[in-house]
Amino acid sequence: MKKQLSLVLAAVMVAASLVACGGSSQPAATTAAAAPAETQAAAAAETQAAAPAEAAPAASTGKTDLTIINTVEPQTLLPGSENLSAGHLIQCQLYDTLVMETPGARSTLVPGLATEWEYSEDGCTITFTLREGVKFHDGTEMTADDVVFSLKKDAEGSYNADAAKLLASIEKVDDKHIAVSTNYAYKPFLQVLAMPSFGIYSQKWYEECEASGTNMARSENGTGAYKFAEWQSGDYLKLEAFDDYWGGAPMIKNVTMKIMTDGQTAALSMQSGEADVFFGLDSADYDTMKATPHMVVWDVLSNGTHFLALNSTDGHFFKDNKDARKAVQHSLNREEINLGGLDGTGHVTPYPVNPDHFGYDPDWQPTPFDLDKAKELLAGTGYSGETVIYKSANSSWYQNPAQVMAEEMRKAGFNIDLQIMERGAWEDDVDAKGNSDIWNYMTWGQFPDADADLYIYLHTSQRGIEYANMIDAGNDECDAALDGGRYSVDDEERFNYYKQVADINEEEGWYAFLMTGCNFAVTTDEVQGFVPHPAVFYHIKDWSL
């Protein structure tokens, strides 16, 4: 059932991204509804029928206060600098973006602060028509200058660093229009501008904060449906409804996000009825939560795919050792990794692209699990029991699958030295410096596209760059496919390019893509209008109690 669900979900996303790309004229033909899309269209219909059955909506309670429990605390309110989903969730409430994702179909973009948009002939410039009469939280009216200013500032933010490389210019055309240009026609670009990290705020507010030294991480002046009220570090964050919201005042008036860093305590708190919504359910609590009356558990596939990286850089075990990499591939039993590592709540997704993102192929098959073959391959390399260092970060999300994989490789004959490290130290030592023979992590494509998932990990230009290709993956053929995917605007072509990338990676054995976990959301059965979102970009204005 779960596997089916994953396929269906993936299908919805792919189909959606193929069919609907932006609200107005596109240079490229959108006729690319290739083979995968057709079969998926049927599947999509299936989910839509199945979805409402998940949570039979109860009668409205008329409550206007909503409490959310989150296991992670946001870092900052300022768009562009936040990299935690907890922060994005808050930013979604405080700020609007030019275009917005449709709940349930990420790639279908609908008007936000821009009512219309138009592509130039070469596909490099998008001209946005701005919505009129939009008010900031301080009551002033939004102008084209504010939009240009905040987009520019957003692009300077650390979270938007990759997107910023694409941007050529952001300009005011007139009082009603602005133009955003990219260096080349980039298909998913509009999707980038729909991220909360490209939120719009008041220029005056920003400049005043700068002048007075006000902490911008803890104040805001956006146009969103909610205003920032209070933030007690480590305790809670409060928002209140903005009655002058251009889309009409939201039904839920007060939102409190409680921070509970211990997942177990958070889950128990949710079970004892202390909140309406809970983000951060541990997979171990899944069954218990599902069995609790009035709780609805949403299996939201996360936008990151778990992978195992085999380090081929100088001084590491897998350098010039393709057979050993293949041996690792054969030693991995993904069903088992999912079961032991994610309590069976994830979905086995061996394809490098996240199932929620453009470019996913649900039919692709990985190197099969074959322990004997693994042993044979390893023996063929002349391996004599050298220690293979496997460092993993200490959150259960990474550490649990690591324990299973280390054991699987041990069974294949590798002498694995598994070291679980504190997350911070791990990021510094492994993620940034690559000081390990093996490690496991997740892709973190910022926007739902294969390019965002794969380029940094597999392109040779990304070798040796912190957090990117730290294992010397990639070759000319792979680069060509990645570049093809990046610079093409044809969906079928792009889809095939990424299939090539997947095949090359599997043949070379650089990374083994494993599974996709769930960013579970738990709501009480009173919460209505909740539609699962993989990246936690929820808009509370659409909910009611």
């Binding site: 069954d287 200490n394 259960s396 299973v404 069974k411 598994l418 070291q419 490290m421 504190e422 130290a425």
Partner: protein, 304 residues
């Protein structure tokens, strides 16, 4: 974690008083006293069994096959004839892991105490015997460590240096050294003025000799009592550190880590949380009983 300065003073007094008794029969007297305490005997019995099991575990358990080899498809099984205590989230036999963990827990517990005592003897005896500037310097240094709450100190060390048995041992013994230094120092100060020490001095014995041959043996009573209790504490503290994710490296088993892993499944699979919990409580309680028994047995007042 807590300690009590007054008790140490009175322990020192007791030790001093005891020094007047004949030393040879001391052990026999203590044992005779200890034997009367049925609870303490029970504690000793439990600990002896545990130590024997821990030491002999490799004879009937294969670390690779029984302790760390996973069988994920067979996970979270309830107790059965094949797995007497069931299996954990990776399908490993809990009984085998529990027994093996006894080795880890006991080893860690005793190493920590050993380091704590040795460190405490060196610092405490030096400070107490030499007095003056040295005493002041050492005690202020100790104050620094006492001023940092133990848990936070341990977290800083383990979180930054990484999870491993040596780092855990380091963190936990750093917390114990100040405690033992204080106990030993006050014992030494209490004994320093005694006649037999003066006599030894007159006989020309050097400082270290006096400390090692005459003072330490006489101060051993309170040290052993404290040490027994501290092993119990250490085992619980390791569990606490495991709880906040700072335990030992998997796949090695350790009671605290097993407990904190099991807590995730505690509602659905309560048997998982029972066995390591009981192991910790039983061991800690037994050690406490022994410690209490020893304290009473060493106390001359209890002997009438």
């Amino acid at each position: 974690m807590s300690e009590n300065t007054n008790k140490t003073i009175s322990d020192a007094e007791r030790a001093a008083r005891r020094a007047k008794y004949k030393k040879k029969s001391e052990l026999a007297v203590v044992w005779r006293q200890f034997k009367k305490n049925k609870l303490a005997l029970f504690g000793l019995f439990v600990i002896v069994i545990m130590v024997i099991l821990a030491l002999t575990a490799p004879l009937f358990i294969d670390f690779e096959k029984d302790v760390i080899e996973q069988n994920v498809m067979n996970r979270l099984q309830g107790p059965s004839s094949e797995h007497l205590l069931g299996t954990d989230a990776y399908g490993r036999d809990i009984l085998c892991r529990l027994l093996w963990a006894a080795r880890v827990s006991m080893f860690t517990g005793f190493t920590v105490i050993a380091i704590g005592i040795v460190g405490g003897i060196i610092l405490g005896a030096t400070a107490g015997y030499l007095g003056g500037v040295v005493d002041n310097l050492i005690m202020r240094f100790i104050d620094i460590f006492l001023a940092i709450p133990f848990t936070l100190m341990a977290i800083s060390i383990v979180a930054t240096l990484g999870n491993s048995i040596p780092n855990l041992v380091l963190a936990l013994s750093l917390a114990l050294i100040p405690k033992f230094t204080r106990i030993i120092r006050s014992s030494v100060i209490g004994l320093k003025g005694q006649e037999f020490i003066e006599a030894a001095k007159l006989c020309g014995a050097s400082g270290p000799v006096i400390v090692l041959k005459h003072i330490i043996p006489n101060a051993l009573g309170p040290i052993i009592v404290e040490a027994t209790l501290a092993v119990a504490r250490t085992i619980i503290d390791i569990a606490g550190l495991s709880f906040i994710g700072l335990g030992i490296q998997p796949p090695n088993p350790e009671w605290g880590a097993m407990l904190s892993d099991a807590r995730k499944y505690m509602i659905q699979y309560p048997y998982l949380i029972m066995s390591p919990g009981i192991a910790i409580i039983l061991t800690a309680a037994s050690l406490t009983l022994i410690g209490d028994g020893l304290r009473d047995a060493l106390d001359p007042k209890m002997r009438n």
